[in-house]
Amino acid sequence: MTKFKTHILVCGGTGCTASLSDKIAKNLKDNLADKGLENEVQVILTGCFGFCEKGPIVKIMPDNTFYTEVKPEDAKEIIEEHIVKGRKVTRLLYTDPETKEHIADSKHMGFYKKQLRIALRNCGFIDPENIEEYIANDGYEALAKCLTEYTPEQVIDIIKKSGLRGRGGAGFPTGIKWEIASKNHADQKYIVCNADEGDPGAFMDRSILEGDPNSIIEAMAIGGYAIGATKGLVYIRAEYPLAIHRLEVAIKQAREYGLLGKNIFGSTFDFDIELRYGAGAFVCGEETALIHSMEGKRGEPTFKPPFPAQSGYLEKPTNVNNVETFANIPIIILKGADWFSSIGTEKSKGTKVFALAGQINNVGLIEIPMGTTLREIIYEIGGGIKNGRKFKAVQTGGPSGGCLTEKHLDVAIDYDSLMAAGSMMGSGGMVVMDETSCMVSIAKFYLDFTVEESCGKCTPCRIGNKRLYEILDKITQGKGTMEDLDNLRNLSKVIKDTALCGLGQTSPNPVLSTIDNFWDEYVEHVQEHKCRAGVCKALMKYVIDPNVCVGCTACARNCPVNAIKGERKSAHEINQDACIKCGTCIEKCKFGAISIK
């Protein structure tokens, strides 16, 4: 077996792959071959490093040099300078925004300092398509321990004691869920991995599956052993081709190694996993809808009870857990419940992965211990607001969550505190907004999503959300009334109160939280026909100051809809009825005569 002195880890997550990281890896290999170093230096495509803002990422081990924004043509220099001559390529190192110093080791970067990678432990570290790398990092040891040392009850007990709660959004204690499923007896039970990640902008589960698929397989086998299921199913979005591919590779390898199949580790436990592809319906992330979809039925939720643990897939007891929940299982078994429960807050243990996005400097995938504050995430990990603008709101929990403001920045994140603040943990979407975001439009954006994604089964979600959207649209058009604001609030409450499933019960959250936290902005839209963020086009008016305009005709010549009239060398005027508010005139005016009112 070849022993490599140096490893070059290239991020093979979807984001970096889109920025040609596979080409980078190829170029690195070619350059190594040119130098005759292919047997000394190994290039590995790993899972996501998380720091997507600065991708593609290339990391050199063992000296921990972290290169950012690498391009395929940089490969030559990395090999020639770093590998051959031992000199770091300074221009590819991360520059600290404050000190302007180059930082080579990621653990000294603001983005990573406060992070604690448990679920993401192997992402960006191992080759996800090589089971041996997973095994070399304690992979499948937890499964071996469970099968050879623990009874199913003991496994459940460990998970219960660890305090792990479901990472899909609702936060139900995982151990209790397993216990319920284990107590329902049947000739066949199922354990299901919910990989139907659907929140807009969220990619936590995808990254785990792409970066560390074996951890999910191992965890599902452990769960199967605990509840008495011999069959595992992964319900995964068909839009995740890379994650699917890596899972398929991992499952195949696990079977070859005897880690799936009959008599695993010489025990009497048999377990195998199959994939089921989702067609991308958001509601299929709801466990009853997910099960119906797996059965080939219409993906819509049914009333609980019966819970899946009583009657789920093919009417057999079924336990559904989210990807990130599973990702925590093996390490809890290995390090113990006490270790895990020592991390986090009183009622929320461990860490949580978030997809940090929006108007923030460091966009990416982060994992933080429960109890970290929003301020720490936004200003330390996230590096603050882009372009020096002012923070306005942070949206957590995706379409089911809410918008939190300045006053919530010191909230220590856990399931209960976010709920109390009017939002929710959700699956881990986190969108940061600055003053250029209009909160009415944000609420409308999320409603647009839920209207599109509602299955249409129950009245409040099918029609109620549509009406919410229509009222919000009316307000952004400047046609809203104060009565509309009352109606928004009342209708939102009824939808929450009456909708059948979690989707409908939470879909008004973006409306309610923005009404509560940004009431003035709603009133401005209604009473003053004003959008302070300058987002609602219908409320904007482009005006030429006749005292400044010199009549150069530049605006009129460039206006795409001929909305500007005026004689040469005399002040021009914009026909408001024709204006489409594209902003071209402002751009073209050299005299600063045009402004938005």
Partner: protein, 592 residues
């Protein structure tokens, strides 16, 4: 022993068995919680409770959200409020939302006055819709029997449940998502291209006007008012025990005489009775059945048993669609309605000495599928149908109202002769098990050569979905199977197909309860006890008939001697028998 659960509903203590829904627990102490999507055919094991409409929401103390009473089971110590302000406000808003996406065309809607959404809106005192907005737009789908006006669909899923669970036809299911979600056929194709068998149970179940029968009253009025036309009407047995409901009478009221009187006042030239043709059916089908049994007993291996009844057009469509390999098993006898049409437009036409195109035959049926049946090509002569128009019980009631007839104060009148005379055997065609009982009464006497003293075969009666009985034909056991509801028919047929059971004869009716529960009957809104009362009334009607065996009907005897010759003879073969078609391509399309 059943475990009992104690709870409090609206400050009243109630004890009910475990597994009871809040809806039923409340009903047990006289508290009515409004519902819309909920639909139960009690005793038929059919329940639609998707928990979708959210009209029945109630407040359960300690719960974050309101709970749907139909889908929430009782729990020990529950404290429930069915009309707190929170509940009333939510319920009202939910109904307002529904109305905001529902055409306000109540005045011209087929279900006006019978619409459950309309009633609900009225009960909740909704005078204005707060949340107005876009309304969904879909095309109307016209089929020979059923109109789908999908704009009115409220996604209660009742039709889906009856189509899939009760009937196992599988023509309707939810399509699209969100605001665009409705119940439709696969790929939203036309109903007539789908596997739909036109049984119409979806029409019976639909609480609003999204599903309705095709209205033929206008054509019938035109025919009546045309002086050149001789208009003959025939009424099916199940109509006389149900139409009274349309005039406020108790379910199960027998109004045969008033109905005949009303038909005469509307202006039909001859008021006849499908029951006459039911007696005729027994002569033909009974003879065919005995012929097959006789050949079977003599060791003829080519004979096909069981013989299956063929009166029900939904059932005929069903086996043509789903059992194309069994097309030679059902009796070739036409349905009573079609036999009547064939006789009216031959025998009676010749007696009157008028031309075929000058006679219009109208049938009053408890059925929606009959509209389809009378349009089948094989029941036409040179394009002229044996039965021109088929009206449902509900349409006849409308006609009576349109003609300003005060139904309840009408005198009892008789049907006209000769095609209006019938026996008790014919009347029971209207209830499940009735056709086979009628056939048994006649077949027994022909088979044994003895007089049947006791004509009531209680072993063949009942409301169970699948029934099996053995009748003693003087030492020869005759095995009989009965199914009502097409899902039950499927169960029975599959057993036969797999060779698990042997029957000499099988009766199938597509609708639960038989024709008394037909899709063309007054809407029962899920109160199946109404159907049971009609069922009981059918047997009362039979009991009071002086003649109770079809072959004793003097006018039937006269018809054979004057015109037809022998049952299953050449003339009757030509006039009174039919053949079936393989329609399985409708299912294949969906399967692909």
């Amino acid at each position: 022993m059943e475990q009992m659960v104690n709870l409090t509903i609206d400050n009243k203590q109630v004890q009910v068995p475990q597994g009871t829904s809040l809806l039923k627990a409340a009903a047990s102490i006289g508290i009515k919680i409004p519902t819309l999507c909920y639909y139960e055919l009690k005793g038929q094991n059919i329940e639609n409770r998707p928990g979708a409409c959210r009209v029945c929401v109630v407040e359960v103390e300690g719960r974050r959200n309101l709970a749907p009473a139909c889908a929430t089971d009782v729990m020990e110590g529950m404290v429930v409020h069915t009309h707190s302000l929170r509940v009333v406000n939510a319920r009202r808003t939910v109904v307002e939302l529904m109305l905001s996406d529902h055409p306000a065309s109540c005045l011209t809607c087929a279900k006006s006055g019978k619409c459950e959404l309309q009633t609900l809106a009225q009960e909740l005192g909704i005078r204005d819709i707060t949340f107005k907005g876009e309304q969904s737009t879909y095309r109307k789908d016209l089929s020979p029997a059923i109109i789908r006006d999908v704009n009115k669909c409220i996604m209660c899923r009742r039709c889906e449940t009856v189509c899939n669970k009760l009937q196992t036809v599988g023509a309707l299911s939810a399509v699209n998502r969100g605001f665009m979600a409705v119940v439709a056929t696969a790929f939203e194709q036309d109903l007539k291209k789908s596997p739909c068998v036109m049984c119409g149970q979806c029409v019976q179940a639909c609480p609003v006007g999204a599903l309705a029968e095709v209205d033929n009253t206008r054509q019938v009025i035109n025919a009546i008012c045309d002086p050149k036309k001789t208009v003959v009407v025939q009424t099916a047995p199940a109509v006389r025990v149900a139409i009274g409901e349309e005039f406020g009478l108790e379910p199960g009221s027998r109004v045969t005489g008033k109905m005949a009187a009303a038909l005469r006042r509307i202006g039909f030239d001859y008021v006849f009775d499908t029951d006459f043709a039911a007696d005729l059916t027994i002569m033909e089908e009974g003879t065919e059945m005995l012929g097959r049994i006789d050949r079977y007993m003599k060791g003829d291996k080519t004979v096909k048993l069981p013989i299956m009844t063929s009166c029900c057009p939904g059932w005929v469509n069903f086996f043509e669609t789903y059992y194309p390999d069994m097309l030679d098993i059902p009796s070739t006898a036409k349905s009573p309605m079609q036999m009547f049409g064939a006789v009216a437009k031959s025998y009676w036409l010749e007696k009157l000495g008028i031309k075929r195109e000058d006679m219009v035959v109208v049938s009053i049926m408890p059925c929606v599928a009959k509209k389809f049946e009378c349009q089948r090509d094989e029941f036409k002569v040179d394009g002229n149908p044996d039965v021109d128009y088929s009206l449902t019980t509900r349409e006849l009631a409308e006609l009576i109202k349109q003609f300003n007839i005060d139904f309840n104060s009408l005198p009892d009148e008789d049907f006209d002769r000769p095609l209006g005379e019938s026996t008790g055997a014919a009347v029971i065609f209207g209830a499940t098990g009735g056709v086979i009982e009628a056939a048994t009464r006649t077949a027994y006497e022909i088979f044994t050569g003895k007089t049947l003293e006791k004509v009531d075969f209680n072993e063949l009666r009942g409301m169970e979905g699948v029934r099996e009985a053995t009748v003693d034909f003087n030492g020869t056991p005759i095995h009989i199977g009965i199914a009502h509801g097409l899902g039950n028919a499927r169960k029975l047929l599959d057993k036969v197909k797999e060779g698990k059971e042997f029957f000499h004869a099988i009766e199938v009716m597509a609708c639960p309860g038989g024709c008394v529960g037909g899709a063309g009957q007054p809407y029962h809104h899920g109160d199946f006890s109404k159907v049971e009362k009609r069922f009981a009334a059918i047997y009362e009607e039979d009991k009071e008939k002086p003649l109770r065996k079809s072959h004793e009907n003097p006018y039937i005897k006269q018809l054979y001697s004057e015109y037809l010759g022998q049952p299953c003879g050449e003339k009757s073969h030509h006039l009174l028998h039919t053949h079936y078609f393989d329609k399985s391509d409708k299912v294949e399309f969906v399967k692909e």
